[in-house]
Symmetry: C2
Subunit: 367 residues, 2 copies
């Protein structure tokens, strides 16, 4: 396999050196930066997340900061979920759509003040998008990417580790809520959030010069719980049914196709981007839907790097967007994006390297 | 160094398998795909480009296709260069700016018909940007990313190779002009263009299933001229003074700072994005400018992966955005983006890994 390292078009995370020291084995580009995607021991990394605690460099989750008199208005214009009930210090998981109703991101939106929001984004240039909309509509906001880089602490022991450093107040944080903290002079926000279903926190480092220090503080504090390095875990996230924007979506995917309907409010004002298109899509019905698939056989398969075509008989019915060996199910599982004519329980064939692999569709999540 | 390979958020170029077979050693992410950046023998790759012919997978240069009754109008709205004289089958190098006058891309714009344009883009999501502007302004266009992937053939022997396959008509192509071609049923457009100053062509493959075939056709045809694999060459492009959008620019860089003033028309209509801001910037004067730098000493330095701070005496005066060993000058050279108070001929210090390296500023290009 070919190599990758930082270059002048790839910014370095404040935790980059720490992940190198921890033995990062592979990266994936994400928001113009490098996201660690393996530390070389998948079994240990999965086990750590499921039963212990794991420390992740997710500095690639950049913040689009919207500040000013029109900040709340713009935040809503960019979000197809109603944000009116969002309180200061609360976050919400929000689909963002373009004017066609196509999903262009699924950030957590953090409300820091009545006139200050962060969109903690997945892999797409929402800074450019937000600036475009603000300028075209003449809104009074300042949009920037602040020096803020999240580190995730995930797993059932994450709360003990984070509480041991920052105090027991973090135990009272509700899901997606956040608060301010400071440790050894390092400014942070701490949110109960993260890209796993095993529980945990994201520490929003607010000084990029101090990533190594923060990494080591958490690493030291986590020793009693055998903390170790990790990253958004392919097996756990697929078992848990978590969407990967860009990995499981394409240039025409709308939120209804990928199980995001609970986060779409069709009675928002018409000026919210995508809402008018989504009403039409809702009325005529989405053509595809995302389901799980369990492939036949109980031998672990190799990595899944491209989308595979899915066939119902001789008809191409969609694609399998990801796949992984599930330690909990002892089966190869994944997500498919297929025609609405297919339902859970039906069998399909997945064309993998020219060979049809049969499998059975199911509801998501697996767990 | 860590590894990288395709994943489900990284699309694969039609030439990917061919570059793997040619021994690609390193990739850089670019427009959600992988750009080969080394085949492991920098000296041979440089020599091939300078005195022979080199074959590049630049499929990452995606096309933003704008089609419809308002296509010409939108193309101009997105471009701070006057496109009114652009003929069908002609391309132009065009700075794109946001509303702040900040550079967001520097594509070659290809006019395929009066109502059909391709923006052959550098590394930023101009599909999203273009759709945003078109929708906000209610323009009657269809914007898409067609199945089009360029392969570059570069170097002084490129014309002979391309003519041997497609005929002598390509010898008459003027710079940035293009024409239609077909070889063994593979549809293409051929432009005289490419990211080097050594001359050559870009073959716009219009069927992604046939990348391997096209690669092999050019490879076979090029044997008499000892064609070999390559990629946008760091040494040649820096010697030649070619800008790398995103590599040499930041979130506030305007076209005047990076020598693009010949491509900016300030008397365009006010609806052209960025023109009003650029008029103001022109009036008060840009604060920075891009110059060359020649570092003292004649020992080749290692790779340049991050921006280095530049000091004039004790004052931080800007950054060195790239650097490379120049085979032609036998010196370490690079680009700086520094205060306008500094001029060619002056000496500065570059802070590299904590050590001040003295160097002399100069005009660009070096050659």
């Amino acid at each position: 396999m070919a190599e990758i390292g930082p270059n002048t078009r790839l910014r370095v995370s404040p935790f980059y050196e720490s992940t190198i020291a921890e033995g990062v084995a592979a990266f994936s580009p994400y928001n113009g930066m490098l996201l660690p995607v393996s530390f070389g021991d998948p079994q240990a990394e999965y086990h750590r997340l499921m039963s212990g605690v794991s420390q992740w460099d997710v500095g690639v989750q950049r913040q689009v900061q919207i500040q000013g008199p029109d900040a709340a208005r713009l935040a809503q214009i960019l979000s197809v979920r109603n944000l009116s009930s969002c309180k200061v210090n609360q976050g919400k998981y929000v689909p963002m759509c373009d004017h066609r109703g196509t999903l262009i991101n699924d950030p957590v939106v953090l409300k820091l003040a009545e006139d200050l929001y962060w969109f903690s984004i997945a892999d797409n240039n929402m800074l450019l998008w937000s600036r475009s909309i603000a300028a075209e509509r003449g809104l009074d906001v300042h949009i920037s990417e602040p020096d803020v880089s999240p580190m995730a602490v995930q797993g059932p022991k994450a709360e003990d580790v984070v509480a041991s450093v920052f105090g027991d107040w973090i135990r009272d944080l509700k899901f997606f809520w956040f608060g301010d903290a400071i440790i050894e002079g390092i400014p942070l926000k701490i949110a109960r959030s993260g890209y796993s279903k095993q529980g945990g926190f994201e520490l929003y480092l607010m000084d990029g010069q101090r990533g190594k220090e923060l990494w080591n503080i958490i690493k030291e504090a986590g020793r009693p719980w055998e903390i170790g390095p990790g990253n958004p875990n392919p097996a756990e996230r697929i078992e848990s049914g978590l969407l990967s924007y860009g990995g499981d979506t394409d240039d025409t995917t709308n939120p209804f196709e990928v199980r995001l309907h609970p986060y779409v409010d069709l009675d928002l004002e018409d000026d919210v981007i995508g809402v008018q298109a989504l009403r039409e899509i809702r009325q005529r019905g989405a053509k595809r839907h995302q389901l799980g698939i369990v492939l036949n056989g109980s031998e672990p398969r190799n990595g899944h790097a491209i989308w595979y075509d899915v066939y119902a008989g001789d008809q191409k019915a969609g694609v399998m967007t990801n796949g992984v060996w599930s330690p909990r199910m002892k089966r190869n599982i994944g997500f498919v994006l297929v025609s609405r004519s297919l339902s859970p329980g039906e069998t399909v064939d997945v064309l993998i390297n020219g060979i049809r692999q049969p499998g059975t569709l199911c509801e998501l999540p697996f767990f």
